[in-house]
């Protein structure tokens, strides 16, 4: 197939969901061989639905799909794969316990009844050489980095002869270095005439680097089609959101007080028993936000858990207001005024099957003020819950609603309403805005700033570099379990921190 000929055409695709939600409203676009055609949109713009339709997971209510000019109907992903459409998922659909090779050949008809590993290996190797990929085929997938796992998904699609590759948020979990090598693989695929369709929400700069053309979705409709060279970042963001985007929060001037938390040389293992945190030291003072920037899996999760008391460190000590708390329990730390906002909501920060009251109760159940001889004083608890649910603007029909019915933003507000009122000294916020829409993100960030204003210390952990830089007084990029350096807000320039969290710059700069 010559580069530039139309290879995939989508015409008038409409998808309605029960309850009258129109997820896609007459969407059409066209993809040519060898081009990178980015599809941009916010959460809820209909990207996921579109992706699922292109890969045969969902069927459209209206509209047609043409591959090589022929009208096609996908009943399942298998149909899509057979027509040369491959998919690279954001949440990796790989089998962690199996090897790279096993993952690539799984389910392909060519694999045969009895697997000929030697032949399969040669074929995959040839594929790697052709596109210039480097990967150990015998490694287990769980041992691989996010970028390598993505490569496995790409290889799996190519092994099946994919000519059109759908990529879901391809750069969101990659380090800057991995992004470079990812961009290279995109180039080599384009040379071979493979069309790629990255779906993107954040990370607009990468879109500029890779794409030839861009289609912007908003609320299920195509609002703009343009060539990448005609576009500007600001314009794209405006097309996506539909209004001018102002992402500036006023950082309050607060006097930095005494030291609250001191962490000395702390090390910890991750769940797999591998050393993930390798001797980290820092301190946080009253009224200070200490930000940790890093790509997931570099030890920041373990660090947050060690400080919250959820994970036992294997070395080092933690002091809270001068007192050694290395071996105290989660409950004791909660009572001391340490609050933890976990990165996940349902099932970690919230119980969906519990009412809002019972969820709020998670923050105060141990407080004798709310119980009498071992029995809960529900009248007091309800008053307390009512107060903070309204103060933190949790939108719900009543305080007896089950939390499972709430949206992501409201769930996070509920967690804040549970944690923040009981936190007097130190707040640990782990990825507090991940997956939230713009309004909820702003609400969460202003709550964190309010904590600072009240004189609490805040440990902010986020993969969103902009968030860390905007809110923090000091920033520590973390890489492979170590702080690269601790930077003041002035020193923390985006380029510098970005390079440090990718391991490209050492602390000596």
């Amino acid at each position: 197939m010559k580069n530039g000929t139309p290879i995939l055409e989508v015409r008038g695709i409409t998808k309605r969901f029960p309850g009258g939600v129109v997820a896609l409203d007459h969407v059409d676009f066209e993809v040519r061989a060898g081009e990178v055609h980015a599809i941009l949109g916010e959460n809820g713009a209909g990207k996921t639905t579109l992706m699922n339709i292109l890969f045969g997971v969902l069927q459209p209510d209206e509209g047609e799909i043409y591959v090589y000019g022929k009208r096609v109907k996908f009943r399942s992903p298998l149909d899509a794969m057979n027509l040369g459409i491959g998919m690279v998922h954001q949440i990796r659909k790989l089998i962690p316990a199996h090897t790279v090779l096993e993952n690539i050949i799984l389910g392909h008809p060519k694999t045969g009844t009895i697997i000929n590993m030697k032949k399969a290996r040669e074929e995959v190797k040839a594929l790697c050489e052709r596109y210039g990929f480097k990967i150990d085929l015998d490694a287990r997938v769980w041992q691989l980095s996010a970028g390598e796992q993505q490569l496995v998904e790409i290889l799996r699609a190519l092994y099946r002869g994919a000519k059109i590759l759908i990529l879901d948020e391809p750069t969101s979990v990659l380090t800057p270095l991995e992004i470079d090598s990812f961009l290279n693989s995109m180039k080599s695929m384009a040379k071979e005439g493979i069309a790629t369709i990255p779906f993107v929400t954040h990370k607009l700069p990468e879109v500029f680097a890779i794409s030839d053309r861009i289609t912007v979705l908003r609320r299920g409709k195509v609002v703009k089609r343009l060539e990448t060279r005609e576009a500007t970042m600001k314009a794209l963001a405006e097309y996506m959101v539909g209004r001018e985007v102002l992402f500036t929060l006023e950082k309050p001037k607060v006097k930095i007080g005494e030291e609250i938390l001191r962490v000395e040389n702390v090390s910890a293992l991750n769940d797999k028993g591998v050393l993930a945190l390798k001797g980290v030291s820092f301190s946080i003072r009253e009224g200070e936000i200490f930000g940790i920037a890093g790509v997931a899996g570099n030890g920041q999760q373990e660090l947050a858990e060690v400080i919250a008391g959820l994970r036992k460190p294997i070395g080092g000590r933690i002091f809270f207001k001068g007192r050694d708390i290395t071996n105290t329990s989660v409950l004791e730390r909660m009572k001391m005024g340490i609050g933890y906002i976990p990165p996940e909501r349902l099932g970690v920060g919230v119980i969906g099957n519990f009412s809002l009251v019972d969820n709020i109760l998670m923050g105060i159940y141990f407080d004798p003020e709310f119980s009498n001889k071992g029995f809960l004083n529900y009248k007091k608890i309800r008053d307390y819950a009512k107060k903070y649910i309204s103060e933190f603007e949790v939108v719900a029909p009543s305080i007896d609603t089950k939390a499972a019915h709430l949206s992501g933003g409201n769930l996070q507000r509920l967690i804040l309403a549970r944690v923040i009122p009981r936190t007097s000294k130190l707040l640990i916020a782990n990825s507090p805005t991940v997956g939230l829409d713009i309004a909820a993100t702003e609400a969460v960030r202003s709550r964190i700033l309010a904590c600072k204003e009240k004189g609490m210390g805040v440990l902010l952990i986020s993969e969103d570099l902009d968030e860390v830089l905007q809110l923090s007084d000091r920033v520590a990029p973390i890489y492979e379990g170590r702080f690269v350096k601790i930077l003041s807000a002035e020193e923390a320039k985006k380029e510098v921190v970005g390079a440090m969290m990718a391991g490209a710059l050492s602390g000596g700069v």
């Binding site: 920060g349 119980i351 089950k402």
Partner: protein, 361 residues
């Protein structure tokens, strides 16, 4: 041409199941079980309506089966409550059978050791030691689970088998063997359970425990911690709940309740007042597994399990007429229970899903 348009059905996830829905689902599942069992009855040449009539008139007739119905029903209630407490914390206690045997051993050991004690002293002592024995047995599984992370389902099942042989060791040719060799010696008269309104007083104990558990799980601080752990161990960890402690505790509570049923069963029914031969005590032990199904069907609501347990008791007692009165083959009564368990399981589907009709066009 006439087209018959079949309704297009779709399953939809149920986020939260209400109590009323749960009751409807259980009744429907019973209806289906009755229909299926009718097939077996007809196969044996019996009229289903007549047979069901016999079953329930026998089970609920105060002159005939009512007191046995209630006795067996409350025995199952003990098992159900013993299942509910650990399940509220997310643990599968499949060990009610073993805990019941241990409770039996504890109670009988006291009765044989102090036969001359005054009943007002002896009976509470039997209950307490029975409960403690059961609690210890439950706590053993709880300890293995909470401290060493050993799968509680398999451990409790193994403990059941061990306890079975323990009772066997004591009764069949053992130190407690009676004249009949394979049963135990009869209990001293001082150990017999006082009968109140034709049922042993331990029945009221079961009801009392059900009510207390309901309040305990719903309104106490500890009950709240148990529920959090049961809904999400991860959340429990995040809010400082000591999972190990609670795991051992709930298994011990469950074991204690199941242990009490040892006294209730043997000292409460005038037909026993001893440990019968192994097949017979095993058959009673097998009834404890009903606790699992009843507990789940009632969504772990301990008060709702009271009528359910009694109902199953009525089937257990009533369906014996099929064999004894209607001269139908042996085992048809247990088959009825089997059919009900199968439909209960199948209807668990509706605890998670609802069938919706999709309108066309």
């Amino acid at each position: 041409m006439v087209y018959i348009q079949l309704p297009k059905l779709k399953r939809e996830r149920v986020v939260v199941l209400t109590g009323r829905e749960a009751v409807t689902i259980s009744i429907l599942s019973l209806v289906v079980a009755f229909i299926i069992f009718s097939g077996f009855l007809m196969l044996e040449g019996a009229s289903p309506i007549e047979a069901y009539g016999h079953i329930f008139t026998f089970a609920f007739n105060p002159e005939l089966g009512l007191s046995t119905t209630l006795h067996r029903g409350f025995f199952i209630l003990f098992s159900t409550l013993a299942f509910i407490v650990p399940m509220s914390a997310g643990l599968w206690n499949i060990g009610m059978e073993g805990q019941f045997y241990l409770g039996t051993i504890g109670a009988f050991a006291i009765a044989y050791s102090f036969p001359n004690l005054h009943p007002a002293l002896l009976i509470p002592l039997m209950l307490i030691v029975g409960a403690l024995s059961g609690a210890g047995y439950g706590a053993l599984a709880g300890f293995l689970r909470g401290k060493l992370n050993v799968n509680e389902v398999v451990v409790t099942l193994m403990l059941n088998n061990i306890a079975f042989w323990l009772v066997y060791l004591l009764t069949v040719g053992g130190p407690w063997a009676g004249i009949a060799e394979s049963t135990s010696r009869p209990l001293p008269a001082s150990a017999h359970a006082p009968i109140v309104w034709n049922i042993p007083f331990t029945s009221f104990l079961a009801i009392g425990i059900a009510v207390i558990l309901y309040i305990f799980l719903k309104y106490s601080v500890l009950g709240y911690q148990i529920r959090v752990l049961g809904n999400s161990p991860v959340v429990a960890k995040h809010i400082g709940i000591n999972a190990t402690k609670i795991t051992i505790l709930v298994m011990a509570i469950g074991g204690a309740i199941a242990g009490l049923s040892g006294y209730h069963m043997w000292a409460g029914d005038p037909a026993f007042r001893l440990i019968p031969r192994p097949e017979a005590y095993k058959a009673i032990g097998d009834l404890t597994y009903w606790g699992i199904l009843i507990g789940l069907i009632c969504l772990l609501n301990s008060i709702a399990t009271i009528p359910f347990s009694v109902f199953i008791g009525s089937i257990i007692v009533g369906s014996t007429v099929l064999v004894r009165r209607l001269r139908l083959p042996f085992g048809l009564d247990v088959l009825f229970l089997g059919v009900i368990s199968l439909t209960f399981v199948a209807f668990q589907f509706f605890h998670h899903y609802r069938i919706k009709r999709i309108r066309r066009g």
